[in-house]
Symmetry: C2
Subunit: 722 residues, 2 copies
């Protein structure tokens, strides 16, 4: 039986305890402090800065234990994880010290309990900061397993949190308690048979029942292994049903329930993986093609970040509102980016349910984690827990060491022991599931994170706008790429003081909310890029509209181009899906907490299983130029597709009928390249935009908005150099 | 006590045993058969083909056991390894079945022995051949741990061998027997302290003594751990002494002896490792810079292959004659190429002694080894034995999964379970020693294997001669590259029938001895390339001289260029050092068994720790051209170097004094780039060669022979297209 406790919090400065304040569990103690000390809305203006003064203090949770135990029952303190370094004391005596927020704690208190009046306390140490590291940088986190994102990222304020971020409670247990039940299986090569092994951790013998989704019994008994014939497979979104079986393991006193999804997953070499032709020869590109249940599946999705700066507040509803949006956007995968690492259990349960595959990274990102025995000990403890707790979810299809570790700004490499350790642990504990040491590997691509080069930014980082840039690229997978936009006026007004609002400048609030100097000098608002296409904006609303116009068309161009590069290309995941607080500008397509930007709907269109799509060489066009576009029929669905399309271009009064393509059909999972259309662009006085429309019945059409310049104004208004 | 046995061999065809024939142990039973059936000299003409008919037979060794055992002693059958799959029977009863040639066998026979008249037999299965693989190809070996080289390589005839290739004997042991003694240590960061742990596998307690190289006792006692202060470090050739301590572990009855070399080894990221500048960004190059005892050491060496086609015949003398040549060539490393895998113990002991570092690969090469449970079981058994038997040698500085596994012709990749398994086992059993999954990794280079492109070969595989090709390349390590030559006339006359000798053509003997169609159509004799520079040869002797001229100058150009690319480049290892039999032409610098080619001495010069060197843009020059060369001062020694040089170019009667460079000095391990010299080449009638001479006292000078064409003949004689 579970007994939730009433917790009080204390701040400890130089050994001196504050007055107690109410502490939420699960929660973050810094937020509890802020609430009782009137920090105000953390999203507004500079309020998040107030948390800086709390970084180096100790904190303590205390509860006068309130529970009843029957004769023979043991009394446990249980938590799914405590952030980050802590001592647990019972009646002022330390009974457990630990480090690492992702492994479970189960402490048998029974023998140390008094008859009554027991007090349990959890003392939280200051956030890890490596001695000698630059103050306020993520390097402070480079010798610990604390997710570095809290130390500040280009979309996450510096806001260090800790405490009882997961459920924590007293539980009474008899000797019949079922500590764990896990179901393993191997599928035959033709997927017609699942050999199932059940592992139940209980001192008593248990019975086991497996049910199909309709509640029919598939197996019932006490064997630890049995066979399921013709299992219904779990498929990701767009490829079939995310079919789940349920199970019940029970004895006379306890029952545990869970789900099983039968599926196989492999990562294989990409079609036409680049094998150098000239000597001296190096290796070919890293493999990144996903085979789900023997079927090649194009990974289309996004990068997930922590959905709240206060991780303790995140709950099933937080996840559900976002994950239904993922599913509805025709996405099939989320990359759980290393800097924020592992979500709560509800996340994976919902991904199982919605058919959203999860690429799970460990908590390493953009740092050089050391070959250090103390660090490796904590990492191994955390990684063992993460792997054994999550390997059961069919949604989890790939382990990865962490983010961008093989790039100059991190400086780790193939020899780094933390990554060799993680590979080894995954091999041992989750044999056969793919593992990569980091992203990107050779041949995979990260970036770029702007719509186009501009004078206001470093030259040549892309070599054009996102249309041109990705048409030139030839990656086996695009696992991060981003086009920013400015948040809605409503959001801006709730976080930026009125007098700073417009024009967007390097004010404290805009800086803190990542409108400027977040990545490049102008990121993420990128006003100079917007102005390079449209000239100065007259109002905040106009600027926001233009920014979202670029994000919509930019993301559409990226995703559709990457799909056209199938099967050499195997993945398209933008940076990023969601955000942890109200940003002023971001690459995300969802505003905090779960409000879609216009780009969300554009991506949803671009990711339809079947659509007609245009490969347009660039975004901006001018009168007199020869407009060209390739017309494609995209199909990543598991069925053959057919359709027809009419292509027309409209500039003001001028409409050009460019193509009628009839009786178009393509097999399951295959794209078809059609004709290249072209026309000379007219001089349409006063027009600034043109539209390419692919009209098709059954929702397979597409529309592309492009920038158009009438003749005389081009050289004056444009500063881009294509 | 050890009792060698007298063995008889049997060939078993369709279950029928042949008459017995004498079998050598260690040895290979096919060679025993050949000897008693007059196959003739295996090197001559087509004799090696006679072994093809033996491939699919069973073989058996039998010995009537001859030993004496005292009261209480146990009787063991011991072998360091049996090739490849086998049953061991005592008195016709199978007592052990096994697979894999690299793990040790120790069978306690005692309880099954008769009073007298015991017969031990070892039945050898046919060589593994994967069902369905193309007959006669290395694909036959792609599901086994049999080294694939025996299935035929471009310098090794197809000649499948098996049997008791290592010592095999009866040993009587008391309960005091010391099964193993191994010494582990960790060095402090400043190398001033070694924390030593001794592991002795014995049922009785043992004492342990450690001696320095002069025989002075460093430690004596029975502790399992102790400290050595200021240990004298083991260094590789050219960087210091390969200092070895010796130890003795003993009890009342037994003593075992061994050596310990204190050294630390790491592989770190290369200087200026290439981090892509344009988005989308991939990863940077694989790390390959060696840090030995904290000092960056440029790896200069070669690729080692099995030194005999009959592995059973290889002994300490075989190794010694070759390894002294390695040492004397100023080399510090050998890559133990995966196709031939692991040598006998003597090899590593000698490498320890001579300071030759060993890059040890497992037995995977150029094949796609499967994610198959049976294969992985054998691989794990073999790999565990290889790692635990060899981790003790200080010479062994790098583990590697195998050869060219991440290239199109192999088709394995980062996800392949055999390579993940090997990484995991190395991490567990030899923690901290570098491991790479294969060579080449990204940024490392293999090839090319010819002196230059020519009309007779596929166009564009290099883009020039080896001078130009490697000056254009920018690899972090060149771990295979080769320039072939034709073997000496003496060798050719001993292997090629008189009537086939000249000109070299596609005769059976030349084909079998790899003069033609070994790699490219013209490899390895490469007569069209030789003719492209010199025109037709008038005699075999002249052709051989010209071939060796190209190999000498080619290898010198390669090695010296790679040294100039330090520190971005960290390694230069040519393909290959030695050869397993008498080839007609090969990329090796040593002819079988241990006879240096002229190129050996050229490489020895190129690898002097300190020398003046010229970077010459190409090999062939013509009258009227502007000759250019950069003059460098190379120093990879651990001391600062100084010197002076005069540079002159001679073409027939013409001598140009190009440079006097005085007071040249450079710190330890650093190269210095000097001036570029140049002059217009004269028209020297009748000349075909010119020489660039770098004259320097103290043996630091160099000389480069180049091809020269007087004016009118150029266009007619040259077919190369630079």
């Amino acid at each position: 039986m579970i007994f939730n406790q009433k917790w009080q919090g204390y701040r400890i400065q130089n050994g001196v305890y504050s007055d107690p304040f109410p502490a939420s569990v699960p929660g973050n103690i810094q937020k509890d402090w802020a609430r009782s000390h009137n920090f105000g809305d953390v999203h507004y203006a500079e309020n998040c800065e107030k948390f800086r003064e709390l970084e180096d203090d100790f904190w303590e949770y205390r509860a006068h234990l309130d529970y009843t135990a029957n004769e023979g029952e043991r009394v446990f303190f249980v938590s799914q994880g405590i952030d980050y370094k802590y001592d647990i004391s019972l009646n002022e005596k330390v009974i457990h010290s630990d480090e690492g927020m992702f492994h479970k704690i189960e402490l048998d208190l029974t023998d140390a309990l008094l008859e009554s009046g027991n007090e349990l306390s959890v003392k939280i140490y200051p956030h890890p900061k490596r001695a000698g590291s630059p103050v306020g940088s993520i390097l402070e986190a480079d010798h610990s397993c604390k997710p570095p994102v809290c130390y500040g990222w280009d979309w996450n304020p510096r806001l260090l949190i800790s405490g009882l971020w997961q459920e924590a409670y007293i539980e009474t247990r008899t000797s019949a308690y079922i500590r764990n039940c896990e179901v393993f299986y191997t599928l035959s090569e033709d997927f017609s048979v699942a050999d199932v092994t059940v592992s139940i951790d209980c001192d008593l013998s248990c019975s086991f029942e497996l049910f199909d989704a309709d509640g029919n019994i598939v197996y019932s008994g006490s064997d630890t292994s049995f066979t399921v014939n013709n299992p219904i497979l779990w498929w990701c979104n767009g490829q079939g049903d995310p079919y789940l079986y349920t199970y019940k393991a029970s004895n006379s006193e306890y029952s545990v329930f869970g789900t099983v999804g039968f599926r196989s997953v492999r990562i294989v070499r990409n079609f036409n993986a680049i094998d150098p032709s000239l000597f001296p020869k190096s290796r070919y590109d890293a493999p990144f093609t996903l085979m789900l249940n023997g079927r090649r599946v194009f990974m289309k999705g996004s990068n997930w970040v922590n959905p709240d700066i206060f991780w303790g507040d995140i709950n099933r509803d937080t996840y559900d509102s976002l994950l239904t949006l993922v599913r509805d956007a025709n996405m099939n995968i989320l990359r759980m980016w290393g800097g924020a690492a592992v979500a709560k259990r509800d996340f994976y349960e919902l991904c199982d349910k919605y058919g959203i595959m999860v690429w799970q990274e460990f908590m390493l990102a953009c740092n050089r984690y050391p070959d250090d025995a103390d660090y490796l000990t904590v990492l191994e403890k955390e990684a063992r827990a993460i792997i054994t707790d999550h390997r059961r979810y069919p949604c989890l299809i790939l382990w990865c060491g962490g983010n961008e570790l093989f790039n100059g700004w991190s400086g780790m490499d193939d020899q780094s022991l933390p990554l060799r350790l993680l590979d080894k642990l995954c091999y041992e504990l989750d044999y056969g599931k793919p593992f990569i040491k980091t992203s990107p590997l050779v041949g995979m691509g990260h970036g770029c994170y702007i719509f186009a080069d501009s004078r206001g930014d470093r030259a040549g980082i892309m070599g054009g706008d996102v249309y041109k840039s990705f048409q030139q690229a030839n990656c086996v997978a695009y696992t991060e790429f981003g086009v920013p936009s400015i948040s809605s006026e409503e959001v801006l007004r709730s976080i930026i003081p009125e007098d700073e609002l417009f024009p967007i400048g390097e004010t404290k609030s805009y800086l803190l909310h990542h409108a400027v100097k977040a990545w490049r000098p102008q990121s993420h608002a990128c006003v100079p890029i917007i102005e390079s296409y449209f000239g100065p904006s007259e109002s905040l609303g106009q600027l926001i509209d233009r920014s979202n116009f670029l994000q919509c068309e930019g993301y559409k161009a990226c995703y559709e181009e990457m799909r056209k590069q199938e099967p050499h290309c195997s993945a398209a995941l933008n940076w990023c899906f969601n955000e942890p607080w109200k940003t002023a500008a971001n690459l995300s397509v969802i505003m905090y907490p779960a409000n879609p930007k216009p780009a969300y709907y554009a991506i949803k269109e671009a990711l339809r299983p079947v659509l007609f799509s245009a490969r347009i060489p660039k975004f901006d066009w001018k009168a007199g130029e020869v407009f060209k576009a390739e017309i494609w029929f995209l199909n990543d669905s598991p069925e053959a597709a057919s359709g027809e399309v009419s292509v027309s271009l409209r500039v003001g009064e001028h409409t050009f009928s460019l193509l009628d393509w009839k009786n178009v059909s393509t097999p399951a999972g295959e794209n078809l390249q059609g004709a290249q259309v072209c026309c000379v662009l007219p001089d349409a006085i006063g027009e600034t935009e043109m539209t390419l429309t692919l009209t098709s019945p059954d929702g397979k059409g597409s529309e592309y908005r492009l920038v158009y310049y009438e003749k005389p104004k081009v050289t004056k208004r444009r500063v881009l150099n294509f």
